[in-house]
Structure formats: C-alpha cells, structure tokens
C-alpha cells in the first residue's frame, strides 16, 4: 500500500472528488474490517463498524496533515469509532454453557476431534481477550494486528511504547489467569453434569 496513493486520493477528495475516496476504501477495507472483527467477533457488526470508521474518516479527512502515516491516522480514528460502538453494545463473550455445548458437539473421529479442540481453544482465547479490561484488550489486539510491532501499536493507541509493553505484559497475565479460571470452572461444570446424569 503506497503512501503516495493515499496522499493523492486525500488531495483529490479534499478538492471535491468524493469518488476518489473509493481508492482509500479499496486499500484499507480489509485491515479496517479485520480490526473491527477482532474487537467484536461478529462479521456483520465488524463491517458496520468499519463502514462507520470510513465515514468518519471521510468527514475528517482534512484533519490528516501528513505528519503521521495515513494508516496510523486511519487506525487511530477507527479505534475511536470501535470504542464508541462497543460502548453502545459490547461484544458478546462466550459463556460457559456455550463452551460446554462445543464439547458435546465434538465428533468422534480423532483428527476431527483434534481440529475441533484446536479451533475451540483458539475461539476461547479470542473470547477471553474480549473479556479483558479495555486498555489491555486494545493493547493486545493492536499489537498482534500490527504484526507484533510495539511502535506501530503505540502510535495508533497514542501511548508511549513503554506503556504499551507494560499493558501487553499485564494483559497476557490476566489472559492466562482468566483462561485458567474458565478451565477450572468448566471442569467443575462438566463434573456436575455427569453427576446429574448418573443420578437420573
């Protein structure tokens, strides 16, 4: 993605050619939708949030002065939109019952079972990230979204790199605890289910 293409499109849009915004949408739709998806885990909602981010970017295009990369400005703006949208309706977090249902739905084949377990593990980690406090959630999501680039994540979050590193460490620690807690509760839940079935 070329910075000069962004610059050219921005200039054209500001000169009155709204259609030139299509170039920006074309280049950045993937990253913006993906970032939104990481925050809500809902495809339809991610697209709605990304569309709102593009609209806001269009309205505020004149505020980008070129002192930061267009992508940094766009992601920071999108992050603000996503925060606002998620405050209106927080992303759903998988409940213990749903996790148990995933276990019940497990197929018998070993390979399929392994794949399901892996997928289930990934989903649970992703859900656990969404259940973190906002500042740790944002640091973790942006760090991995930016291919583990702390500086890039710090720019988007408008925070010093040291703060982002501290939040990443604390976020991972909270994530591990949360996953452990969920796992223990789930084992307890399954045991109770078995006892109830045996009693019947």
């Amino acid at each position: 993605m070329s910075a000069s293409e962004d610059q050219d499109d921005v200039e054209r849009v500001l000169a009155g050619d709204a259609a030139a915004f299509a170039g920006i949408v074309h280049r950045w739709q993937g990253p913006l939708v993906n970032l939104a998806y990481r925050f809500c885990r809902d495809r339809g909602r991610a697209e709605e949030m990304a569309q709102e981010a593009f609209l806001r970017a269009y309205r505020r295009l004149a505020q980008w002065r070129g002192d930061a990369a267009f992508s940094t400005w766009l992601f920071a703006l999108a992050l603000n939109v996503y925060r606002t949208e998620l405050r209106k309706l927080p992303a759903g977090v998988l409940g213990l019952e749903e996790i148990a249902e995933l276990h019940d739905a497990r197929a018998d084949g070993k390979a399929l079972q392994a794949r399901l377990e892996q997928g289930e593990r990934e989903r649970t980690v992703q859900r656990a990230v969404l259940a973190l406090p906002q500042k740790y959630r944002e640091a973790l999501l942006l760090f991995y979204f930016q291919q583990k680039d702390v500086a890039a994540a710090a720019h988007v979050l408008r925070l010093p790199e040291g703060t982002v590193k501290a939040r990443l460490a604390r976020g991972r620690e909270l994530l591990r605890r949360k996953l452990q807690d969920w796992a223990e509760r789930e084992v307890h839940y399954i045991k109770e289910e078995r006892c109830a079935k045996e009693t019947i």
Partner: protein, 151 residues
C-alpha cells in the same frame, strides 16, 4: 477449554498472532461508497479553513496601543509647558507613599526601632524610585494577560 490451564506462552502467542484474515463481503466497498456519496451530497469535506484572525480582539488592542503613546505625548507636551504640575504629581505620589509608610510603621510598632527605621526608609526610597509606576505597570500587565486569556 479443558486444556486452558496448560496453554504455554508460546501457544498463547501463536493463537493470538495466527488470526486468519477475513475478507470483507463483496458489497462492502460499494456500500461504503454509497454512504460516502450521500455524505458528500450533504457535507463535502473541504480543506480545513484557516483559523480566522481575531480582528475583534486585535483592533481594540491595536487602537489602545496607538492611543496610549499619543496620550503620553500630549501629556508630556503639556507637562513641559507646566512643569509645576509634574512636580505636584510627584509630590502627591510621595505624600501618598509617606502616608502608607506611616501606616506600615504603625503596624510594625512592635518591631525594634532600627527595623522600623529601615522599613520607613525603604518605603520612601521605593516611592521616590517610582515604585508606584512599577506597581501600576504590573497591575496593567496582569489585567491584560487576564483579559487575553479570557478572550
């Protein structure tokens, strides 16, 4: 998530890093551009207008800046014509300062005599050096700063 408590740092890192990219739906870009075109019809984004110069603040200030030297010039010309008026003004300042100094001295009555004497001399000296004008200038500066901050 039976294995949740067995997740290693590396595995956690891998899961978080290996997120599969999701492709936006084929109609997404068109949908965004529809919304942008609607927005453009109502409010086209323009280069941000430069911040307008605050003439309503500048002009009165400039007028005051020009008027003040003129006023001082007129006063100086008049003053040179009647030097006695200047002397009288200075005398008023000195008298006023003396009264203040005396009151100050009353307040310091409990202090040793040499300290009282030093205080009185300091006040007289300050009055003769034009401390009143300095005080006036400071008050004027403070007022102008307050006014500019408020504006």
């Amino acid at each position: 998530m039976r294995e949740g408590n067995n997740l290693t740092d590396a595995e956690l890192d891998r899961i978080l890093a290996d997120e599969r990219a999701m492709q936006p739906s084929s109609s997404f870009a068109a949908s965004v551009m529809d919304a942008v075109q609607r927005e453009a019809a109502m409010h086209p984004p323009m280069h941000e207008p430069s911040i307008p110069f605050p003439w309503h603040i500048f002009l009165p200030g400039m007028a005051a800046c020009l008027a003040l030297p003129c006023l001082m010039l007129v006063l100086a010309l008049r003053g040179s014509a009647s030097a006695s008026v200047q002397v009288q003004i200075q005398m008023h300042w000195v008298q006023g300062a003396t009264v203040l100094a005396e009151r100050y001295a009353d307040l310091m009555a409990n202090l040793p005599a040499d300290l009282q004497q030093t205080g009185m001399e300091a006040v007289h000296h300050a009055a003769q050096m034009g401390a009143g004008w300095v005080l006036f200038a400071l008050v004027l500066s403070w007022a102008s700063v307050q006014w500019s901050v408020r504006a």
